[in-house]
Protein backbone atom coordinates (compact mmCIF):
# COMPACT_ATOMS: atom_id res chain seq x y z
CA UNK A 1 0.00 0.00 0.00
CA UNK A 2 1.25 3.48 -0.77
CA UNK A 3 1.25 6.51 1.53
CA UNK A 4 1.87 6.96 5.22
CA UNK A 5 -0.02 4.25 7.19
CA UNK A 6 -0.42 6.53 10.22
CA UNK A 7 -2.69 8.79 8.15
CA UNK A 8 -5.26 6.02 7.61
CA UNK A 9 -8.42 5.78 9.68
CA UNK A 10 -8.67 3.19 12.46
CA UNK A 11 -11.13 1.02 10.57
CA UNK A 12 -9.10 1.20 7.35
CA UNK A 13 -5.79 0.31 8.98
CA UNK A 14 -7.38 -2.55 10.95
CA UNK A 15 -8.71 -4.04 7.72
CA UNK A 16 -5.34 -3.57 5.99
CA UNK A 17 -3.50 -5.42 8.78
CA UNK A 18 -6.07 -8.23 8.86
CA UNK A 19 -5.76 -8.60 5.08
CA UNK A 20 -1.94 -8.62 5.41
CA UNK A 21 -1.65 -5.59 3.12
CA UNK A 22 0.25 -3.88 5.95
CA UNK A 23 2.09 -5.40 8.89
CA UNK A 24 1.54 -4.22 12.44
CA UNK A 25 5.26 -3.33 12.54
CA UNK A 26 4.95 -1.05 9.48
CA UNK A 27 1.92 0.65 10.97
CA UNK A 28 3.45 0.98 14.44
CA UNK A 29 6.71 2.33 12.99
CA UNK A 30 4.72 4.87 10.98
CA UNK A 31 3.06 6.14 14.18
CA UNK A 32 6.41 6.21 16.00
CA UNK A 33 7.96 8.23 13.16
CA UNK A 34 5.20 10.83 13.42
CA UNK A 35 5.47 10.88 17.21
CA UNK A 36 9.22 11.55 16.93
CA UNK A 37 8.53 14.52 14.64
CA UNK A 38 5.46 15.96 16.32
CA UNK A 39 5.55 15.19 20.01
CA UNK A 40 8.36 17.60 20.91
CA UNK A 41 6.05 20.36 19.61
CA UNK A 42 2.80 19.04 21.05
CA UNK A 43 3.65 17.39 24.39
CA UNK A 44 0.80 14.96 23.72
CA UNK A 45 2.42 11.82 25.16
CA UNK A 46 2.85 11.20 28.87
CA UNK A 47 4.91 8.05 28.25
CA UNK A 48 6.16 6.57 24.99
CA UNK A 49 6.98 2.86 24.92
CA UNK A 50 8.50 2.53 21.45
CA UNK A 51 10.52 -0.67 21.96
CA UNK A 52 7.69 -2.50 23.68
CA UNK A 53 5.27 -1.33 20.99
CA UNK A 54 7.47 -2.71 18.21
CA UNK A 55 7.90 -6.01 20.06
CA UNK A 56 4.12 -6.27 20.48
CA UNK A 57 3.65 -5.40 16.81
CA UNK A 58 6.08 -8.18 15.80
CA UNK A 59 4.20 -10.61 18.04
CA UNK A 60 0.92 -9.55 16.41
CA UNK A 61 2.40 -10.11 12.95
CA UNK A 62 3.72 -13.53 13.96
CA UNK A 63 0.34 -14.52 15.40
CA UNK A 64 -1.42 -13.41 12.24
CA UNK A 65 0.98 -15.40 10.09
CA UNK A 66 0.11 -18.53 12.10
CA UNK A 67 -3.65 -18.04 12.19
CA UNK A 68 -6.47 -15.53 12.03
CA UNK A 69 -6.54 -12.12 13.72
CA UNK A 70 -7.10 -12.02 17.50
CA UNK A 71 -9.86 -9.49 17.04
CA UNK A 72 -11.03 -6.64 14.82
CA UNK A 73 -8.18 -4.37 15.96
CA UNK A 74 -5.43 -6.97 15.59
CA UNK A 75 -2.03 -5.24 15.60
CA UNK A 76 -3.43 -1.69 15.63
CA UNK A 77 -1.27 0.63 17.79
CA UNK A 78 -3.16 2.95 20.15
CA UNK A 79 -2.44 5.24 23.09
CA UNK A 80 -4.97 6.46 25.65
CA UNK A 81 -5.55 9.17 28.22
CA UNK A 82 -3.32 8.41 31.20
CA UNK A 83 -6.18 7.61 33.57
CA UNK A 84 -7.09 4.13 32.35
CA UNK A 85 -5.58 1.53 34.63
CA UNK A 86 -3.32 -0.91 32.82
CA UNK A 87 -2.01 -3.52 35.24
CA UNK A 88 1.67 -3.02 36.06
CA UNK A 89 1.91 0.33 34.24
CA UNK A 90 2.35 3.75 35.85
CA UNK A 91 -0.90 5.72 35.50
CA UNK A 92 -0.28 9.32 36.55
CA UNK A 93 -3.80 10.72 36.04
CA UNK A 94 -1.92 13.85 34.95
CA UNK A 95 -0.91 14.48 38.55
CA UNK A 96 2.11 14.77 40.78
CA UNK A 97 0.26 12.83 43.47
CA UNK A 98 0.03 9.74 41.26
CA UNK A 99 3.26 10.14 39.34
CA UNK A 100 4.49 6.74 40.58
CA UNK A 101 1.14 4.99 40.91
CA UNK A 102 1.28 1.51 39.41
CA UNK A 103 -2.15 0.27 38.36
CA UNK A 104 -3.20 -2.91 40.19
CA UNK A 105 -5.78 -3.87 37.56
CA UNK A 106 -6.69 -3.12 33.94
CA UNK A 107 -9.77 -1.03 33.22
CA UNK A 108 -12.63 -2.84 31.54
CA UNK A 109 -12.74 -0.44 28.58
CA UNK A 110 -9.02 -0.87 27.95
CA UNK A 111 -9.15 -4.64 28.43
CA UNK A 112 -11.92 -4.93 25.84
CA UNK A 113 -9.78 -3.05 23.32
CA UNK A 114 -6.77 -5.22 24.20
CA UNK A 115 -8.93 -8.31 23.68
CA UNK A 116 -9.63 -6.98 20.18
CA UNK A 117 -5.88 -7.10 19.50
CA UNK A 118 -4.54 -3.56 20.03
CA UNK A 119 -0.86 -2.71 20.58
CA UNK A 120 0.09 -0.18 23.30
CA UNK A 121 2.11 2.84 22.12
CA UNK A 122 2.27 4.49 25.56
CA UNK A 123 0.00 6.87 27.42
CA UNK A 124 -1.34 10.34 26.65
CA UNK A 125 -1.21 13.59 28.56
CA UNK A 126 -4.26 14.98 30.31
CA UNK A 127 -5.36 17.72 32.67
CA UNK A 128 -4.52 16.95 36.31
CA UNK A 129 -7.13 14.46 37.58
CA UNK A 130 -9.25 15.33 34.50
CA UNK A 131 -10.45 18.49 36.25
CA UNK A 132 -10.09 21.28 33.68
CA UNK A 133 -11.30 22.20 30.19
CA UNK A 134 -8.26 23.88 28.62
CA UNK A 135 -5.35 21.41 28.47
CA UNK A 136 -3.02 23.25 30.85
CA UNK A 137 -1.08 21.06 33.24
CA UNK A 138 1.27 22.67 35.80
CA UNK A 139 3.14 19.40 36.40
CA UNK A 140 3.74 18.17 32.85
CA UNK A 141 3.20 21.28 30.73
CA UNK A 142 0.38 22.37 28.46
CA UNK A 143 -0.53 20.14 25.53
CA UNK A 144 -0.51 22.04 22.23
CA UNK A 145 -3.01 22.15 19.41
CA UNK A 146 -1.48 20.74 16.20
CA UNK A 147 -3.42 23.26 14.08
CA UNK A 148 -1.68 26.12 15.87
CA UNK A 149 0.65 25.32 18.73
CA UNK A 150 -0.04 28.66 20.43
CA UNK A 151 -3.59 27.49 21.05
CA UNK A 152 -5.15 25.11 23.56
CA UNK A 153 -6.28 21.58 22.78
CA UNK A 154 -9.16 21.71 25.20
CA UNK A 155 -9.36 19.31 28.09
CA UNK A 156 -9.31 17.30 29.97
CA UNK A 157 -8.51 14.70 27.28
CA UNK A 158 -5.88 17.08 25.93
CA UNK A 159 -3.31 14.51 24.78
CA UNK A 160 -6.04 12.41 23.16
CA UNK A 161 -7.29 15.34 21.06
CA UNK A 162 -3.83 16.50 20.06
CA UNK A 163 -2.45 13.03 19.26
CA UNK A 164 -5.43 11.95 17.17
CA UNK A 165 -5.45 15.25 15.25
CA UNK A 166 -1.73 14.96 14.46
CA UNK A 167 -2.20 11.28 13.53
CA UNK A 168 0.14 10.01 16.25
CA UNK A 169 -2.42 7.37 17.21
CA UNK A 170 -5.41 6.08 15.27
CA UNK A 171 -7.71 6.71 18.20
CA UNK A 172 -7.58 7.34 21.93
CA UNK A 173 -9.81 6.87 24.93
CA UNK A 174 -10.93 10.06 26.60
CA UNK A 175 -13.35 10.68 29.43
CA UNK A 176 -16.17 13.21 29.63
CA UNK A 177 -17.48 14.52 32.97
CA UNK A 178 -18.11 18.14 31.94
CA UNK A 179 -17.12 18.12 28.25
CA UNK A 180 -13.67 16.51 28.31
CA UNK A 181 -14.09 14.47 25.13
CA UNK A 182 -16.16 16.92 23.11
CA UNK A 183 -14.02 19.98 23.75
CA UNK A 184 -10.70 18.47 22.59
CA UNK A 185 -12.58 17.00 19.62
CA UNK A 186 -13.96 20.45 18.74
CA UNK A 187 -10.74 22.39 19.33
CA UNK A 188 -8.50 19.82 17.58
CA UNK A 189 -10.75 18.89 14.65
CA UNK A 190 -11.39 15.22 15.45
CA UNK A 191 -14.45 13.10 16.21
CA UNK A 192 -15.35 12.31 19.83
CA UNK A 193 -18.21 10.38 21.38
CA UNK A 194 -19.43 11.12 24.88
CA UNK A 195 -21.49 8.07 25.73
CA UNK A 196 -24.62 7.87 27.86
CA UNK A 197 -23.84 7.54 31.57
CA UNK A 198 -23.67 3.77 32.10
CA UNK A 199 -23.15 2.76 28.45
CA UNK A 200 -19.44 1.96 28.92
CA UNK A 201 -18.05 0.52 32.15
CA UNK A 202 -16.06 2.92 34.32
CA UNK A 203 -14.27 0.12 36.19
CA UNK A 204 -10.56 0.90 36.35
CA UNK A 205 -11.00 4.40 34.99
CA UNK A 206 -9.88 7.19 37.35
CA UNK A 207 -13.02 8.71 38.91
CA UNK A 208 -13.79 12.42 39.02
CA UNK A 209 -17.54 12.38 39.64
CA UNK A 210 -19.26 9.00 39.82
CA UNK A 211 -22.63 10.45 38.78
CA UNK A 212 -21.28 12.20 35.68
CA UNK A 213 -18.18 10.31 34.48
CA UNK A 214 -18.36 8.69 31.05
CA UNK A 215 -15.84 6.76 28.96
CA UNK A 216 -15.61 7.29 25.21
CA UNK A 217 -13.33 7.47 22.18
CA UNK A 218 -11.71 10.20 20.10
CA UNK A 219 -10.77 9.21 16.54
CA UNK A 220 -10.62 10.49 12.97
CA UNK A 221 -14.07 9.35 11.91
CA UNK A 222 -17.51 8.57 13.26
CA UNK A 223 -17.09 5.01 11.97
CA UNK A 224 -13.92 4.65 14.06
CA UNK A 225 -15.76 5.85 17.17
CA UNK A 226 -18.62 3.46 16.37
CA UNK A 227 -16.23 0.51 16.21
CA UNK A 228 -14.52 1.38 19.49
CA UNK A 229 -17.81 1.95 21.29
CA UNK A 230 -19.13 -1.34 19.92
CA UNK A 231 -16.17 -3.10 21.49
CA UNK A 232 -16.32 -1.32 24.86
CA UNK A 233 -20.05 -0.95 25.60
CA UNK A 234 -22.18 -3.29 27.65
CA UNK A 235 -22.65 -4.76 31.09
CA UNK A 236 -19.67 -5.34 33.35
CA UNK A 237 -19.67 -7.21 36.66
CA UNK A 238 -16.86 -4.90 37.80
CA UNK A 239 -19.10 -1.82 37.45
CA UNK A 240 -22.65 -2.19 38.79
CA UNK A 241 -23.59 1.13 37.17
CA UNK A 242 -22.81 -0.19 33.68
CA UNK A 243 -26.08 -0.80 31.86
CA UNK A 244 -27.11 -4.27 30.73
CA UNK A 245 -29.21 -2.87 27.88
CA UNK A 246 -28.30 -4.61 24.61
CA UNK A 247 -25.59 -2.87 22.57
CA UNK A 248 -26.94 -1.97 19.11
CA UNK A 249 -24.99 -2.54 15.89
CA UNK A 250 -23.25 0.84 15.69
CA UNK A 251 -21.35 -0.04 12.52
CA UNK A 252 -24.65 -0.74 10.76
CA UNK A 253 -26.02 2.58 12.04
CA UNK A 254 -23.05 4.36 10.44
CA UNK A 255 -24.22 3.21 7.01
CA UNK A 256 -27.82 4.40 7.23
CA UNK A 257 -29.04 7.51 5.40
CA UNK A 258 -30.57 10.44 7.26
CA UNK A 259 -33.32 11.31 4.81
CA UNK A 260 -36.50 11.97 6.74
CA UNK A 261 -34.83 12.45 10.13
CA UNK A 262 -35.81 15.51 12.14
CA UNK A 263 -32.90 17.36 13.75
CA UNK A 264 -33.57 20.04 16.33
CA UNK A 265 -31.64 23.29 16.69
CA UNK A 266 -32.02 25.10 20.02
CA UNK A 267 -33.73 28.46 19.72
CA UNK A 268 -31.68 29.93 22.58
CA UNK A 269 -28.68 29.40 24.89
CA UNK A 270 -26.62 27.22 22.49
CA UNK A 271 -26.93 29.85 19.76
CA UNK A 272 -26.46 32.91 21.99
CA UNK A 273 -23.22 34.93 22.03
CA UNK A 274 -21.48 32.73 19.49
CA UNK A 275 -18.21 33.70 17.91
CA UNK A 276 -19.11 34.79 14.36
CA UNK A 277 -17.13 31.94 12.79
CA UNK A 278 -18.78 29.32 14.99
CA UNK A 279 -22.18 30.77 13.99
CA UNK A 280 -21.19 30.56 10.31
CA UNK A 281 -20.07 26.94 10.66
CA UNK A 282 -23.33 26.05 12.44
CA UNK A 283 -25.31 27.46 9.48
CA UNK A 284 -23.12 25.59 6.99
CA UNK A 285 -23.52 22.35 8.96
CA UNK A 286 -27.30 22.67 8.98
CA UNK A 287 -27.24 23.28 5.23
CA UNK A 288 -25.32 20.01 4.67
CA UNK A 289 -27.70 18.01 6.85
CA UNK A 290 -30.67 19.56 5.04
CA UNK A 291 -29.17 18.68 1.67
CA UNK A 292 -28.83 15.08 2.86
CA UNK A 293 -32.56 15.00 3.51
CA UNK A 294 -32.85 15.83 7.20
CA UNK A 295 -35.50 18.26 8.35
CA UNK A 296 -34.15 21.02 10.59
CA UNK A 297 -36.56 22.29 13.25
CA UNK A 298 -36.26 24.77 16.10
CA UNK A 299 -36.56 23.40 19.63
CA UNK A 300 -37.27 25.42 22.77
CA UNK A 301 -35.25 23.81 25.54
CA UNK A 302 -35.78 24.37 29.28
CA UNK A 303 -33.45 26.86 30.97
CA UNK A 304 -29.98 25.37 30.46
CA UNK A 305 -28.33 27.70 33.00
CA UNK A 306 -30.02 25.82 35.81
CA UNK A 307 -28.64 22.56 34.45
CA UNK A 308 -25.15 24.05 34.36
CA UNK A 309 -25.45 25.12 37.99
CA UNK A 310 -26.77 21.71 39.03
CA UNK A 311 -23.90 20.05 37.17
CA UNK A 312 -21.44 22.24 39.04
CA UNK A 313 -22.94 21.24 42.40
CA UNK A 314 -22.70 17.53 41.59
CA UNK A 315 -19.23 17.66 40.06
CA UNK A 316 -17.64 19.89 42.69
CA UNK A 317 -19.10 17.97 45.64
CA UNK A 318 -18.26 14.49 44.37
CA UNK A 319 -14.74 15.53 43.30
CA UNK A 320 -14.09 17.07 46.73
CA UNK A 321 -15.32 13.92 48.46
CA UNK A 322 -13.06 11.74 46.29
CA UNK A 323 -10.02 13.94 46.89
CA UNK A 324 -10.59 14.79 50.56
CA UNK A 325 -7.77 12.64 51.90
CA UNK A 326 -5.19 14.17 49.56
CA UNK A 327 -6.61 17.67 50.15
CA UNK A 328 -5.76 17.16 53.81
CA UNK A 329 -2.47 15.28 53.43
CA UNK A 330 -0.95 16.68 50.21
CA UNK A 331 -2.54 19.99 49.23
CA UNK A 332 0.86 21.31 48.11
CA UNK A 333 1.04 18.59 45.43
CA UNK A 334 -1.98 19.83 43.49
CA UNK A 335 -1.82 22.48 40.79
CA UNK A 336 -3.35 25.78 41.94
CA UNK A 337 -6.41 25.65 39.70
CA UNK A 338 -7.34 22.04 40.45
CA UNK A 339 -6.96 22.61 44.19
CA UNK A 340 -9.16 25.70 43.96
CA UNK A 341 -11.84 23.78 42.10
CA UNK A 342 -11.69 20.90 44.56
CA UNK A 343 -12.05 23.39 47.42
CA UNK A 344 -15.20 24.72 45.74
CA UNK A 345 -16.87 21.47 46.73
CA UNK A 346 -16.40 22.34 50.41
CA UNK A 347 -18.82 25.26 50.03
CA UNK A 348 -21.79 23.25 48.80
CA UNK A 349 -24.19 22.11 51.54
CA UNK A 350 -25.20 18.45 51.46
CA UNK A 351 -28.83 19.48 50.98
CA UNK A 352 -27.95 21.49 47.85
CA UNK A 353 -25.98 18.58 46.39
CA UNK A 354 -28.89 16.24 47.03
CA UNK A 355 -31.37 18.69 45.54
CA UNK A 356 -29.25 18.71 42.39
CA UNK A 357 -29.30 14.90 42.37
CA UNK A 358 -33.06 14.75 43.01
CA UNK A 359 -33.76 17.24 40.20
CA UNK A 360 -31.92 15.17 37.60
CA UNK A 361 -34.96 13.02 36.74
CA UNK A 362 -37.43 15.90 36.28
CA UNK A 363 -34.82 17.91 34.39
CA UNK A 364 -34.21 15.04 31.97
CA UNK A 365 -37.95 14.51 31.61
CA UNK A 366 -38.45 18.20 30.74
CA UNK A 367 -35.63 18.06 28.18
CA UNK A 368 -37.05 14.93 26.53
CA UNK A 369 -40.48 16.52 26.33
CA UNK A 370 -38.98 19.61 24.69
CA UNK A 371 -37.22 17.54 22.01
CA UNK A 372 -40.13 15.17 21.39
CA UNK A 373 -40.64 14.59 17.69
CA UNK A 374 -36.97 15.12 16.86
CA UNK A 375 -34.37 12.40 16.37
CA UNK A 376 -31.47 14.42 17.79
CA UNK A 377 -30.42 17.99 18.57
CA UNK A 378 -27.40 19.77 17.10
CA UNK A 379 -25.49 22.60 18.78
CA UNK A 380 -21.99 24.05 18.97
CA UNK A 381 -19.60 22.37 21.41
CA UNK A 382 -18.28 25.72 22.60
CA UNK A 383 -19.09 29.34 21.75
CA UNK A 384 -15.59 29.87 20.35
CA UNK A 385 -12.74 28.08 18.56
CA UNK A 386 -9.56 27.25 20.50
CA UNK A 387 -8.28 30.24 22.46
CA UNK A 388 -4.57 30.74 23.04
CA UNK A 389 -2.66 28.96 25.78
CA UNK A 390 -1.52 32.32 27.12
CA UNK A 391 -4.95 33.91 27.42
CA UNK A 392 -6.47 30.85 29.12
CA UNK A 393 -3.61 30.34 31.59
CA UNK A 394 -5.61 31.73 34.50
CA UNK A 395 -4.52 29.37 37.29
CA UNK A 396 -6.51 30.03 40.47
CA UNK A 397 -7.08 33.71 39.80
CA UNK A 398 -10.40 35.39 40.45
CA UNK A 399 -11.39 35.17 36.79
CA UNK A 400 -10.50 31.45 36.49
CA UNK A 401 -13.99 30.06 37.10
CA UNK A 402 -15.54 32.53 34.66
CA UNK A 403 -13.10 31.43 31.93
CA UNK A 404 -13.85 27.75 32.68
CA UNK A 405 -17.60 28.37 32.70
CA UNK A 406 -17.49 30.13 29.34
CA UNK A 407 -15.58 27.29 27.68
CA UNK A 408 -17.81 24.56 29.18
CA UNK A 409 -21.11 26.41 28.80
CA UNK A 410 -22.52 24.12 26.09
CA UNK A 411 -21.21 20.81 27.38
CA UNK A 412 -22.11 20.70 31.08
CA UNK A 413 -25.91 20.61 30.71
CA UNK A 414 -25.52 17.43 28.65
CA UNK A 415 -23.38 15.81 31.36
CA UNK A 416 -25.95 16.64 34.01
CA UNK A 417 -28.68 15.03 31.92
CA UNK A 418 -26.42 12.00 31.26
CA UNK A 419 -27.08 12.15 27.52
CA UNK A 420 -24.87 10.90 24.68
CA UNK A 421 -23.30 13.53 22.45
CA UNK A 422 -21.12 13.15 19.39
CA UNK A 423 -18.70 15.93 18.45
CA UNK A 424 -17.77 16.05 14.76
CA UNK A 425 -15.47 18.44 12.90
CA UNK A 426 -17.66 20.64 10.71
CA UNK A 427 -15.47 23.47 9.48
CA UNK A 428 -12.53 25.79 10.02
CA UNK A 429 -12.07 29.42 10.94
CA UNK A 430 -10.35 31.76 8.48
CA UNK A 431 -7.18 31.41 10.55
CA UNK A 432 -7.28 27.63 10.18
CA UNK A 433 -8.62 26.49 13.57
CA UNK A 434 -11.15 23.64 13.57
CA UNK A 435 -14.76 24.06 14.63
CA UNK A 436 -16.94 21.17 15.75
CA UNK A 437 -20.63 20.64 16.45
CA UNK A 438 -22.20 18.26 18.94
CA UNK A 439 -25.12 16.03 18.04
CA UNK A 440 -27.06 15.27 21.21
CA UNK A 441 -29.26 12.21 21.53
CA UNK A 442 -31.66 10.45 23.84
CA UNK A 443 -30.26 8.19 26.57
CA UNK A 444 -28.59 5.10 25.04
CA UNK A 445 -29.30 6.32 21.50
CA UNK A 446 -25.66 6.55 20.41
CA UNK A 447 -26.71 4.75 17.21
CA UNK A 448 -28.72 7.77 16.05
CA UNK A 449 -25.77 10.12 16.61
CA UNK A 450 -23.48 7.76 14.71
CA UNK A 451 -26.00 7.60 11.86
CA UNK A 452 -26.18 11.40 11.55
CA UNK A 453 -22.46 12.00 12.06
CA UNK A 454 -21.41 9.34 9.56
CA UNK A 455 -23.84 10.71 6.97
CA UNK A 456 -22.28 14.16 7.43
CA UNK A 457 -18.76 12.74 7.02
CA UNK A 458 -19.73 10.87 3.83
CA UNK A 459 -20.28 14.18 2.07
CA UNK A 460 -17.67 16.39 3.77
CA UNK A 461 -13.91 16.10 4.30
CA UNK A 462 -13.23 18.18 7.43
CA UNK A 463 -12.42 14.97 9.34
CA UNK A 464 -9.79 14.05 6.74
CA UNK A 465 -7.80 17.28 7.04
CA UNK A 466 -4.38 16.79 8.61
CA UNK A 467 -2.41 19.61 10.24
CA UNK A 468 1.00 20.42 8.72
CA UNK A 469 4.11 20.62 10.84
CA UNK A 470 5.51 24.10 10.34
Amino acid sequence: MSGEPALMSLTAVAKAIAAKQLSSREVTQSCLDRIAKWNPRLNAFMALEADDALKAADAADAALAKGGPKGVLHGVPLAHKDMYYDEGKVVTCGSKIRKDFVAPTTSTALQRLKDAGTVRLGSLQMVEFAYGPTGHNPHYGAVRNPWNTDHITGGSSSGSGSAVAARLTFAALGSDTGGSIRMPAHFCGVTGLKTTVGRVSRAGAMPLSWSLDTVGPLAQTVEDCALLTQLMAGADPEDPTASDLPVPDYMAAAKQPIRGLKIGVPSAFYVDDLDAEVARVLDETLAVLKKEGAEIVKVDLPDQRQLTAACQFVLATEAAALHKRWMIERPQDYGAQVLMRLQNGLAIPAVSYLEAMRWRGPALSAYLTAVEGTDAVIAPVAPMPAVTIAESDVGNSLEAEAVIQRITRFTRPINYLGLPSLSIPTGFTRSGLPVGMQIIGRPFDEAMLIRIGAAFQRVTDYHQKVPKLS
Binding site: P248, F313, A347, A356, W359, G361
Partner: protein
Protein backbone atom coordinates in the same frame (compact mmCIF):
# COMPACT_ATOMS: atom_id res chain seq x y z
CA UNK B 1 -30.97 30.47 47.60
CA UNK B 2 -28.16 32.64 48.89
CA UNK B 3 -24.56 32.27 47.83
CA UNK B 4 -22.34 31.50 50.83
CA UNK B 5 -20.06 34.20 52.16
CA UNK B 6 -16.34 33.71 52.72
CA UNK B 7 -16.98 33.58 56.46
CA UNK B 8 -19.57 30.82 56.04
CA UNK B 9 -17.25 28.91 53.74
CA UNK B 10 -14.51 29.02 56.37
CA UNK B 11 -16.91 27.48 58.87
CA UNK B 12 -18.05 24.81 56.41
CA UNK B 13 -14.51 23.85 55.48
CA UNK B 14 -13.56 23.62 59.16
CA UNK B 15 -16.43 21.22 59.77
CA UNK B 16 -15.33 19.19 56.71
CA UNK B 17 -11.82 18.85 58.22
CA UNK B 18 -10.29 20.71 55.28
CA UNK B 19 -9.81 24.20 56.75
CA UNK B 20 -9.05 27.11 54.44
CA UNK B 21 -7.78 30.62 55.20
CA UNK B 22 -9.61 33.88 54.52
CA UNK B 23 -8.11 34.41 51.06
CA UNK B 24 -9.02 30.92 49.89
CA UNK B 25 -12.50 31.22 51.33
CA UNK B 26 -12.99 34.50 49.46
CA UNK B 27 -11.78 32.87 46.24
CA UNK B 28 -14.15 29.92 46.71
CA UNK B 29 -17.07 32.30 47.33
CA UNK B 30 -16.26 34.13 44.12
CA UNK B 31 -15.83 30.92 42.17
CA UNK B 32 -18.86 28.89 43.26
CA UNK B 33 -21.20 31.79 43.98
CA UNK B 34 -22.73 32.02 40.49
CA UNK B 35 -23.79 28.34 40.68
CA UNK B 36 -25.95 29.15 43.71
CA UNK B 37 -27.63 31.92 41.73
CA UNK B 38 -28.11 29.60 38.76
CA UNK B 39 -29.73 26.90 40.88
CA UNK B 40 -31.90 29.31 42.89
CA UNK B 41 -35.07 28.80 40.77
CA UNK B 42 -34.94 25.05 41.56
CA UNK B 43 -33.83 25.18 45.18
CA UNK B 44 -36.62 24.50 47.64
CA UNK B 45 -39.21 23.75 44.94
CA UNK B 46 -38.90 19.98 44.49
CA UNK B 47 -41.83 17.71 45.39
CA UNK B 48 -41.69 15.62 48.56
CA UNK B 49 -41.71 12.17 46.89
CA UNK B 50 -38.80 12.77 44.52
CA UNK B 51 -35.60 10.83 44.97
CA UNK B 52 -32.36 10.73 42.91
CA UNK B 53 -33.19 7.28 41.46
CA UNK B 54 -36.02 8.89 39.46
CA UNK B 55 -33.30 9.79 36.98
CA UNK B 56 -32.73 6.10 36.21
CA UNK B 57 -36.44 5.58 35.54
CA UNK B 58 -36.68 8.58 33.22
CA UNK B 59 -33.67 7.66 31.12
CA UNK B 60 -34.49 3.96 30.64
CA UNK B 61 -36.54 3.37 27.48
CA UNK B 62 -35.78 6.37 25.29
CA UNK B 63 -34.29 5.03 22.05
CA UNK B 64 -35.85 6.39 18.85
CA UNK B 65 -36.96 4.48 15.71
Amino acid sequence: MTRPTAKEIRAMSDVADVPVDNDVAARIANSIGPAFEGFAPVSGTLPFDLEPATFLLVRAPQVTK
